[in-house]
Structure formats: structure tokens, C-alpha cells
Assembly symmetry: D2
Homo-oligomer: 278 residues x 4
Amino acid sequence: MNHYRILIDCSDEKGLVYKVSSIFFKHELNILSNNEFVDKENNKFFMRSVVAGDADASVLQAELKAVLPKDASLDIIAPAKKRIVLMATKESHALGDILIRYEAGELDAEIVAVISNYDLLEPLVRKFDIPYHTISHEGLGREEHEQKVLDLLSSFEPIDYIVLAKYMRILTPLFVESYDDRIINIHHSFLPAFIGANPYKQAFKRGVKIIGATAHFVNNNLDEGPIIAQDVIAVDHAYGWKELQRLGRDVEKIVLSRALKMALEDRIFVNANKTVIF
Amino acid sequence: MNHYRILIDCSDEKGLVYKVSSIFFKHELNILSNNEFVDKENNKFFMRSVVAGDADASVLQAELKAVLPKDASLDIIAPAKKRIVLMATKESHALGDILIRYEAGELDAEIVAVISNYDLLEPLVRKFDIPYHTISHEGLGREEHEQKVLDLLSSFEPIDYIVLAKYMRILTPLFVESYDDRIINIHHSFLPAFIGANPYKQAFKRGVKIIGATAHFVNNNLDEGPIIAQDVIAVDHAYGWKELQRLGRDVEKIVLSRALKMALEDRIFVNANKTVIF
Amino acid sequence: MNHYRILIDCSDEKGLVYKVSSIFFKHELNILSNNEFVDKENNKFFMRSVVAGDADASVLQAELKAVLPKDASLDIIAPAKKRIVLMATKESHALGDILIRYEAGELDAEIVAVISNYDLLEPLVRKFDIPYHTISHEGLGREEHEQKVLDLLSSFEPIDYIVLAKYMRILTPLFVESYDDRIINIHHSFLPAFIGANPYKQAFKRGVKIIGATAHFVNNNLDEGPIIAQDVIAVDHAYGWKELQRLGRDVEKIVLSRALKMALEDRIFVNANKTVIF
Amino acid sequence: MNHYRILIDCSDEKGLVYKVSSIFFKHELNILSNNEFVDKENNKFFMRSVVAGDADASVLQAELKAVLPKDASLDIIAPAKKRIVLMATKESHALGDILIRYEAGELDAEIVAVISNYDLLEPLVRKFDIPYHTISHEGLGREEHEQKVLDLLSSFEPIDYIVLAKYMRILTPLFVESYDDRIINIHHSFLPAFIGANPYKQAFKRGVKIIGATAHFVNNNLDEGPIIAQDVIAVDHAYGWKELQRLGRDVEKIVLSRALKMALEDRIFVNANKTVIF
């Protein structure tokens, strides 16, 4: 008995659900869950089905392709551990949250390595028997440093997702394009509020009554990639910016882990600069 | 061009989505939205489709019935104003919230009447040119009082929903069964916490740090009907029970109006003692 | 027995609590609640005490002034209905929420009038026997229109607060300065995200997973005045911008009414471009 | 320069703030923060001041005692690492969250040991160089098992707090009384909803739309001790009870860590069966 996640992303037209479900029916697939969404503004159709049955993936692939619009993106995924690389700088909360989940077997992933521009988090990561690579940026230009990271990453391929667990360096377009829609970042503000550096200081200065965090795919415009998950927490005038930061960390780590979970379960579609999540 | 909400609730079996969507396809219906859920524990299938096209409702009804399991409940609804009756006692916040939405044309409903066991809210309701009926419970037994309410209600039929906007009397099984899954109540606690009387006093006494409200269908067990919507708000030790009550009213009214909105849009399925909401 | 709210806002120095409380003690005042906050960054002290007793306000004023720093702002307020003017444009939700609370006696205020640049909301406001003034902006320059509003406002003095319940016109510095820290606005986004026009469209376009609303005092920089209250609500990809707007209205009205409540209870201090709220 | 947290809990009477602050003033203490609360229902006064200066704790203790009511509980605490013992059973999320914070230096505490009735979490705990003690309950009566735990605990004294990070056994009154108001538990529901076993199954069965977690001090009535912190998360019909459990874990761990933080900062007063938290 096979178990597949079937992801369809194509231009919308009448009969898509019928055509897809007729193939499921023909192969006597059991539909475990089924979600559809039509983006009317852009005439786009999104569908995620989880099915179980005896059909062969390549047969399904061929038959579905035949009935879907030409522009269809179709993925038939047999659930398996995804290979992920974590990147971090100095803070351990987001990274640690992922490590504890990993140790508990909660993540359907293999953490191939952790890469950092500092060696500060090495003792923590080593406890979990995960390779830790320090690639210091000191004395290097941005491209030079990134090239070293890219070289290291290429040695880990295939990589499904790169998770920036508070990696505090801006990535160049070259880097981002190499891992299009596969880099998940946690930004420590409720985007698009407080884009850029020191969002907690900005939030403190602005006197907001709620702070937040945003997990998003990274694209070429800093802090402007498709948003995956957001959450917030209430604060008041008595919080200094360091307390906002401390409180915000709890939101950051939960939001990042939530986004990672959705990515590992193949629940996220990127729709232009937005996400559709089932 | 017709516009239908098609609601299906039946035992689950393979091919349901295919069979239903093939009929939609045959009639060249445009699927505006489509939601499905399978309750695996109870082997139940729920589907809500919003479709547009030239097909006739009675034809669709017959063809869908023919392919669905024998136990299927099938509703094909052409969106129209629902007829609702509001019931209240003394507090105006939940009632007033509905009235303001009504006046703004936000509710796809006609408020046929407001019934209360007091005349306190009459001046407010009259402002909105809605009939107000006081049926005092004083000097009457519970059944006697209810019979008068039921008699009045029968004069308003057809009634789609009865909305208890802080109607502070317990309904008897006779009453409830007359309007099965059609009575929406707002309970002023985060059910199942603080069932029964004076939930804010109970919450104060217990020293909770969050209070809430619950909108639910009424069944024969007080405060135990299927939950439609819930929300909460943070509080602390400085709130007395009257302040909890005052704060809680904001949650109550929003939760009740949210539940009513979903009911008016035919988004709620009752699944044993729970709801499936699309 | 008198009942006072005593508000102190001054530069911080040692012994302030002692000096103030010694005067309370001398006059045998009963302290019903007491809150202090020190803004260390700006060396500012804020205190709000609610006291009851036989002391005379003018005596307290003199004695407190004598022990407080020279720069102290001191208010001794005997709670009384505040005089407020509401301003709105076309939407009724925020205005209606205030009207329902007003009718229920929940607000310690007298609504002197509602002013709008349209006559759309007149039928609603008239129901509550509140004067409604339409001052159309058509054919008028901004200053010209505002001058007419200012003239009308001056006829209502004294005014404690002007509440912009979705008044969709930008105010000039002249207007704002006339009512410094007394104009409360509701902005339909989680500021500082989506400053400016059509925040729901902006939010939809950005694909955020949470939307919000912000109540703030109005200052000369649009949407940049001191924030009083904020709240948010979760959304997803299935919401179009009109649905975001509809959902957001519930947040807007609750946040505005919450801010108004705090203003009426003299709980808000303006601290540069932020608020301290007890 | 000394730094103290001064905690006062006594029956309320006029002049308490004056009397306390006059002593602070006399000793030229700098008040860093100051919070008071009067529980009018029970005529109780609570005050927490953080002060800095040259005064000696024993002098302050004597002088404050002299002016406070006879029943006053007075604590003058020089902030220092608290000694805590963690107890857990099989789940690692709450324990792991504390360990990551501990490793990051975020907790002002020394984790003396972890005690469990299983050895499952030993590998995780050992990574952090913290002693792990398995005291299996198998083949032992409840009292017998607890006596072994109590014996071990007594070897760790002094202990400031025992943190039950998903310790899934009920404690007897003997145990609880030994560590009165010093045992912090995380209950996996929004108390008082779903007291007792398997709250996520109960929540699933009830069909709630929000689940939560509650951190509380343990007293003799199971799940009925003073509540310290609560939080919630929205769910819907599509979540099975295992998914509720998985989602709920994020709330549990954050709520427990938040409660622990407040305990370590001496911010919590127990007021009968409730808490006052500054």
C-alpha cells in the first residue's frame, strides 16, 4: 500500500477536481485528505490530496499530467524524511527548539548539519550529534563568505530546506536563487512592520502594544518573501527592548518550528509572493 | 445563472468526491469553493461546495442523491436571507452588536422579531424598527412560559435560526427539540469550563488568567451542545468579577456574531455533538 | 467623601512615592489603586492613584505641587462624565459599537454630537437621539472643510475627546494641534504595518497571516501618534481583501472602544510618542 | 550597592505605601520598580518593590516589620540563582524547553537534578550535564514510590522550586505539603476545563475550538492549585486528538517556562487559591 501527497498548482479551469478525482477513483485510491483553493484574482488552482492505495507514482504522474493544464506543476511525494540544513548565528532559542523536537522524533527530517558564522552554538549542537560547521565571515567580503557556505552546502546535497534559525546575515541574490523557495527564515517582527535591523528596538521606540514574529521564504528582497506563519504576543509600556526581545524569542521559535513542520509535510504552495497553506 | 451552496453529509466511501464533481462537471458548474472533511473515527464524509451555473436545483438534487450513499443528507441552497428570531433578557451588548450589523446590511438575514422575558431592551430594539415581544416569566411555571414563547414563535414560521443573545433562561427539552440544531446560544465562558450560572464569578473565584466565550447549538444538556466558535481574552488578578464580566462581553458579542455569520452562510455541519465548519 | 484620580507625570527623583503617599496619609485618604512607572531611558516618573477621603482637591493640588519636581504635570480629577464628539465617514461598525455601549450606560461620557462628511450615518445616530452634523467636504479645500468642522467643534466646548470612529480624512496640523492628545483614532492595521491608504488591500497583497487594528492619539504625522491599544486576528490565504476588511472591523471596533474606555477612566499618559497605561 | 526584591503580603490598612516608602526614602534606596495590589474582598495588601542602595537587608527587615501589620509576611531577597529540581515522565518538550533556556543562561537558576519515573529522558538530560535520577514506580505503592522521591529530594536541599515538566503521576498530600507553593505543574488543558486524565482526548471529544495549557502551583486537590499562567491556541474539526496533543505541547512548554521565569524573579504571591503576579 502506497501513501502519496499529491500537489497540483496550475491555472484554473472547469472540471479540475472531477478530472483529478476520477483518476484517484479509477485507481481505487483512498483519499485521506483533500484541499483545494482557487485564487480567482490570478486564475490559479491549488490542490493537495493525501491518498493511499496500490497505484504506482509514475502511472499517476502520467495520467494526472494528461488531464491537467499544460502549465501544471505536479508533485507526487511519498512521505520520507526531508534533508535540512540549519543556519544560525549566536542565539540558541530557535535552533534549540528544533533540536529538542528533532531528538523527540517529532520532525520528519534529517538535520544534515548546522552552519554558523560563529562557533558559539557548537557545544549545544554537538550534544545532539549533529555536525557543526563554523564559517566565520571575519575578514571576508559578503560574496566570499557566502561562496564558502555555498560550497559546503553543495557537499550536503540533496537539501530540501535550509532553515535560518536566527542567522543574522543578509543573503545575496545568488545565494537565494540557488535555493529558491527552499530557505525558511524567522524574522523577529510582525512583518511588514519593522523590516530591517533591530526590530525589537524599533518596536520599543514606536511604543507598540503587541510584538510578533514572521516565518517566511527568503527571496531577493530582504524580509519580503512569501509569509508562511506569524504570531504575536501582547506587551506594554513596562517592557524595555531587551525584555521585548526575550519575550519575542518564544514567539520566534514557535513560529519557525510551525513553518518548518508545514514545509516538511508538503503543505505549502508558493503563489507569487504569497503562500497557500493546507 | 444560478448560485448554490451544496451541503453533503453522509457515510464515507471511496469515490465520493469523484461522483459529486462529475455531476458538477456534466452540468458545467463553476466551483467557487469546495471543502471536504472525513471524520475517520465515525466514517463520516462532509462536503460543502459553492457552485455557479445553469443547472436546475431539482435536477442536481436528483442526480446527486442517486450517487450518494443512502444515508446522505443533501442540501442545495440558493443563498437568500434567512429568517431569524433573537431572544435576550437584560443585557444589550450581544443583541446590539447584531442590530448594528443588521442595520449596516452585513447580515444575510431578516430579523423577524426579538423576544425577551423583560421589556428592558424594547427601547433599543424599537429604534431599529424590529418587533419586540415581552413575555414575562413572572408568575409562570417554566413550561407555561415556554409554551407562550413557542406559540409566538410558531406565528413567525418559517424560522431558520433562533439566536439567544444572552437569553438567561434554561430551555426545556421540548423547546430545544422543536428547533433542533437551529438554536444558537452564547455562553459567557470558555466551555466546558464554568458550566452553569455566573461563570464570571466562577472564573474570578478560580483565579484564571484567561476568560472566554462560547457560541454553540443548544441541545438538551445545558451548555453541552455542539460548539461553533470560541474566543478568549487575557486577564489578571486586578480584575474583579464585574470587570471580568465587562471585558467578557466584548468576547461574547464577537463570538456570537461570528457563529451567526457562519450559520447564515450555511458553513456549519453538526457531527454528533461537534461541528464541522468550512 | 470625595473620590479622586490623581495623575502625576514628572522627572524622576528619589522619594517621589514617599512624598506623594505621605500627603495621602496625612489626609487619611484611602488608596483604592496605585500604579507607578519609571521610564529610565528618559528619567520620567508616572503615577496614577485613585483615592477616597475627605480632603479637598485644591488643598491636595497645592500640597502635592509643593513636593513634586518643578516640571510636574499634576491632575486631580473627580470622576465625571467626559464630553466627547464622534467623527465618522461611512462605515457604522465602530460608531455603532460606541452607540450601543453608550445606550447601555457603559461609557462614562456624554456624546455631544457626531460629525461626518457624509449624511449616511445620520439615520443610525438619530435613533440614539444624538445630534448629527453633516459637513460635506465636496467642493471645499481641506483647510476650508476643516475650518467648518473646527467652528462647529468650538460650539461644543468643552470637549474632552474627539473620537475618530473611522473618519476617513486626514487632519491637518492645525486641527491636530487644536486638540493635542485628545483625538483618538482607529487605524485599520497593525501599525506600523500598512501605514496609509487601504491597509486591508495592502495586507492582502502582502499575504500576511494576521491582521490587526490600532487605536492611537493623532499627531501631525499620519498614523504615527502614540499607540493606545492594538489587537489582531488570524487569517489565511482564502480571505480576499474584502473579507479581511469585514473581519478586521470586529478588531477595529473593539480596539477603539477599549482605548476610549481607558481615556474616559484617565488611565493614559502620553510619554513622548508612546503611552503609559495603568 | 545592594539590590533587593522586597515582598510584602499583609492585611490592608491605610498608610502602608507611605510607611514602606518612608523607610526606602530614609535609606536613600532607589526604587527600580514598585507594584501594589489590594484584594478588597479579603482585605489583603500585596507589594513588590525592587530597590537598590546601601541599606542592609537585616536593618530593612527590622524597620519594615516594625511598621507593617502583625500578620505581615515580609521577604527581602537579594537576587541569586534559585535551586530547582525538574520532574518529568516521558515527554521531552517541556523539559527540553527549560534545558535550552538553561544552557543559554536565560534562567536565574541552578538545575540540581532531573527526577523521572522512567529512564527515557536520561540521554537528553545527560547532554546538558545535569544529574538524572530514575525512580521507577513499578512494583511500588504510591506512598512507597513517593517516599523514595522525597528521600532523594531531601538530599538536594535547599530546593526553591520543583518543576513538574509533564510529570504524569498524581502527588499525595504528604508530598505536596512538603513543598507548599513551591511545586509548579503544567497541566495540558485550559483549567478548569478538562481536569484529570487525557485532557486532549476530552477536548477532542467535546469538539472545542480552542485548546490551552495551565501552569499552576500544586495543592492537595488535583489540578486545583493557584493558577500562574495560561495560554491557548485555536484549533478546528480537522484536528484529531493526537494533533491537538502535538499542537498543545507548544503551548504547554511556553506557559510552563513563563511561569518558571516569574517564580525565579519572585513575582508571584499566592493569595488563598489564586495568584497575584507583578
